[in-house]
């Protein structure tokens, strides 16, 4: 039985007549459906999909490069408006992109469902009858043999069966077909594609992803309030947050200094952490590329940097602020930028923007720079601002930025007063009797991402089936073979062998020769040389 194919399927054979669709709504509907599930539509949709993906690589995407989008808007607000209206900053969730892949998806399902039911039938039906005239086939051989017709028929059956053919005896001939696996594999491949698409879609609904900055000594518990930022899928519920906690004990980077380029190349980043759950505590190592997998979630090490411990004293010497502050790395030698906000305890609210240099050296201009990412000469500089920090207005503020528009600068910049500069353990007075600041201690921080994606496994399994299906279609060929026996005189018989390819089949001729060879070696018969 032929595998079912869309009407415009082409295996290189001459064209078959195409049936005219009957008129009327039902006929029209059927015609449209046939169009949608045709090879040509699938092909055009595939090409459209490729084409529609291109903008997603030319224009920054909100999903993968949010900063790029912000930058684009700043650089060219007018063009931004137009492109945004076309959803080009969200290419892969845009209406037009979704339309293409939904159509492709429908076409795919509409194509493979009928093929599957057809194939299931084919798997249980016998091979077709032997054609009347085998000599018409391109790959054909005629031999003579000794033996009774029964013996020869048996031998023919055995030969075809041992070559993987499913056989049917048709009078004095044996008809065989093999390579059903090819269609099976092709269907497995296409079903696995559906699996991936469904997995991706369901995954976006149920997954969550949270970020957290952890300073050495700090503990993070897997609760919504513990995250610095959190992106849940549409169907996320708090119940899917596994209760556990993670403490960062220490973080150890390893660098190699490259003499020729003068750069320090990172070799390894290791975070020593302790994971605690109801069962107890265990010490683990968290590395880049080696996330900790725990109860369906994975914890990734994505970034690291320094968190100077900053203590602020009031003019009377009381401690009004004392904690490590994560400074965000700005270059490969970890010159880092941080912000400190002190809303309470001082005569006026204070904000500070600071730079941290792990290995500080002064440039000719007097400016500082870091020459190595390790703390060989740690220096902290702070520009102090006073005024209303705007924290009481209820507007969420980014802890890593300070809006200085409404503030008065006290040190650095155009004030003519030098920025505060401190080595480790040093203390500096804030001008104007506002208090003092101390660089108390140096810690490190890591930024971790916690992810949960329940469809990851189904998608992975689909991917395995995709590969398996593909490889099998590549190596399995679909082929038909016939051996026909015509009894002659004196125990002699004429044997005709023919094979026919069903699709791509480079080894067809060899296949025929193999059959003849195998037949001649079979015990029950003797081919005449």
């Amino acid at each position: 039985m032929e595998p079912l194919r869309p009407s415009d399927y082409d295996d290189g054979a001459p064209e078959r007549p195409i049936q005219q669709p009957s008129l009327g709504w039902v006929g029209f509907g059927r015609f449209m459906w046939r169009q949608l599930t045709s090879m040509r539509t699938a092909l055009v949709l595939l090409l459209l999909l490729a084409l529609a993906s291109i903008p997603g690589s030319l224009v920054p995407q909100r999903s993968s490069d949010p900063n790029g989008v912000v930058q684009f808007r700043r650089d060219d607000p007018e063009l931004f408006e137009i492109l945004d209206a076309l959803q080009l900053f969200d290419t892969f969730t845009s209406v037009w992109f979704s339309a293409i892949y939904l159509l492709l998806f429908i076409s795919l399902v509409g194509c493979i469902l009928p093929r599957t039911s057809h194939h299931l039938k084919a798997l249980t039906s016998p091979p077709p009858d032997t054609p009347a005239r085998l000599e018409r086939f391109e790959h054909y051989r005629k031999e003579t043999a000794e033996g009774t017709p029964e013996e020869l028929l048996d031998a023919a059956k055995e030969t075809l069966t041992s070559h993987g053919y499913r056989v049917k005896v048709d009078g004095t001939s044996v008809s065989g077909e093999r390579g059903y696996l090819r269609e099976t594999a092709n269907l497995v491949f296409h079903f696995a594609l559906v699996g991936i698409l469904v997995g991706l879609a369901v995954g976006t609904g149920f997954k969550y992803q949270g970020q957290r900055v952890l300073v050495e000594g700090q503990t993070f518990t897997n609760q919504l309030t513990s995250y610095d930022s959190f992106n849940p899928g549409r169907f996320f519920s708090d119940a899917s947050l596994e209760p556990y906690s993670l403490t960062l004990n220490s973080f150890t980077p390893t660098y190699q200094f490259d003499l020729t380029s003068g750069f320090a190349n990172p070799l390894d980043f290791v975070a020593d952490v302790t994971l605690r759950d109801a069962e107890g505590a265990q010490d683990l190592e968290l590395r880049v590329n080696e996330p900790i997998d725990y109860a369906g979630t994975s914890v990734y090490l994505l970034g690291n940097g320094f968190a100077p411990w900053i203590t602020v004293y009031s003019p009377s010497g009381d401690v009004v602020f004392s904690q490590p502050v994560a400074f965000l790395p700005q270059d490969s030698n970890l010159t880092s930028l941080g912000v400190v906000k002190i809303p309470d305890g001082l005569p006026e609210q204070l904000g500070m923007i600071g730079f941290f240099y792990p290995s500080a050296v002064a440039l000719e201009t007097g400016a500082l720079t870091s020459v190595y990412p390790e703390p060989d000469q740690p220096v902290l500089t702070l520009n102090v601002f006073r005024g209303d920090l705007g924290l009481d207005e209820g507007i969420p503020r980014n802890v890593y930025s300070l809006d200085t528009d409404e503030l008065t600068q006290v040190t650095g910049g155009d004030t003519g007063v030098d920025s505060l500069v401190m080595g480790l353990g040093e203390r500096a007075e804030i001008p104007g009797g506002l208090g003092s600041v101390e660089f108390t201690e140096l810690r490190r921080f890591v930024s971790v991402d916690v992810h949960r994606d329940p469809t990851q496994l189904p998608v992975a399994i689909s991917a395995v089936f995709i590969m398996a299906g593909l490889i099998m279609t590549l190596f399995v060929t679909r082929r038909r073979a016939w051996i026909k026996i015509t009894p002659g005189k004196k125990g002699q018989a004429t044997l005709e062998f023919a094979v026919l390819a069903r699709g791509e089949d480079p080894g067809l001729r060899r296949g025929l020769d193999d059959l003849v060879e195998a037949f001649s070696q079979s015990t029950k018969s003797r081919l005449n040389p």
Binding site: D8, Y9, R40, L46, A50, G56, S57, P291
Partner: protein, 305 residues
């Protein structure tokens, strides 16, 4: 200690010198081919002719080209291994090294296919292409050996990039055959008996079938590249798919070749249109390697430039 990075570069230049001579020999062979007996043309639409296999019928210049290609390839291989020793890791971690390894694989696949079918007429293309690519990567993309940053230290990187390079090699040969197929089909359509070089080549349907088989192998490898890349991305960045620029292009290429495979089974597309898709697919591979690596920013900025 031996300066392996330097020795490797010397090796690359030596290999280029030998490839140059091989290229000249192959080109000379093509130019003088017309004197030889034409291979019979198979009428279009028929099944593939049993293409001649062993290079038994090769002319002297083709043999010289082949011998020199093998020699150049061995030097090329040593240079690539040297680069790996210099970095104490696999030699495909930045654009220079990736170029070195990919071209090595293109020649390897070409030489390998000769055991299977007589694709000797692609010799000039392969050596010419590799020569050009090696020139570009050594002049424009050369970087010193630096250790891998932690994000790139992954077994999946090793697999992902190596398989991608191998796929590229198959696509490169497939595209060349598709180009020849198109040219050949045009000659067949016009029955230009005088185009003697063309007449020494197999017919367009043979070319199409050969191109198809190389591209299908490339496609399987590319599918694997995609999957291995997703696994690596999951381990390194915490998500297996994020529409990063490089991911987008990997999918575009994959979809183009899926289209190519479909085209070969679609009425009206089998033949020349399918060939065009294969060529466009390989064009996208080249674009992905050059323009996307250099001009587009993304998480995959491993070019080292």
């Amino acid at each position: 200690m031996l300066d392996f990075a330097y020795l490797s570069l010397v090796g690359v230049y030596s290999a280029m010198a030998v490839y140059t001579v091989a290229f000249l020999a192959f080109t000379w062979d093509l130019a003088t081919r017309s004197a030889k007996k034409p291979v019979p043309v198979m009428a279009g639409g028929g099944r593939e002719a049993e293409a001649p296999a062993a290079p038994a019928t090769w002319g002297p210049f083709q043999r010289i080209g082949l011998t020199l290609s093998v020699l150049a390839w061995i030097v090329h291989l040593l240079a690539t291994i040297g680069r790996g020793i210099a970095g104490n890791r696999v030699p495909w971690a930045n654009m220079f090294e990736f170029g070195l390894t990919s071209t090595l694989l293109i020649v390897a696949v070409f030489l390998g296919t000769l055991f299977w079918k007589d694709l000797g007429y692609l010799g000039a293309y392969v050596t010419g292409f590799v020569l050009l690519a090696l020139g570009v990567v050594t002049v424009n993309f050369y970087v010193d050996v630096v250790p891998l940053p932690p994000a790139l230290q992954s077994g999946w990187l090793v697999i992902h990039v190596f398989v991608a390079s191998t796929a590229t090699a198959f696509f490169a040969l497939g595209a060349a055959l598709s180009v020849l197929q198109l040219v050949r089909a045009r000659f067949e359509a016009r029955q230009m008996a005088k185009a003697r070089i063309m007449n020494t080549l197999p017919g367009s349907s043979v070319m199409e079938s050969l191109a198809y088989r190389l591209n299908v192998v490339g496609f399987v490898l590319w599918s694997f590249t995609l999957i291995a890349g997703a696994i690596w991305a999951e381990r390194a960045w915490g998500r297996y798919w994020g529409w990063d620029v490089k991911e987008v292009w990997t999918v575009i290429i994959w979809v183009l070749f899926a289209g190519y495979i479909h085209a070969r089974a679609t009425r009206g597309w089998r033949g020349s249109r399918a060939a065009w898709l294969g060529i466009i697919g390989f064009g996208a591979v080249l674009f992905n390697y050059t323009v996307v690596n250099i001009a587009f920013t993304g998480l995959h900025s491993y070019s080292g430039l």
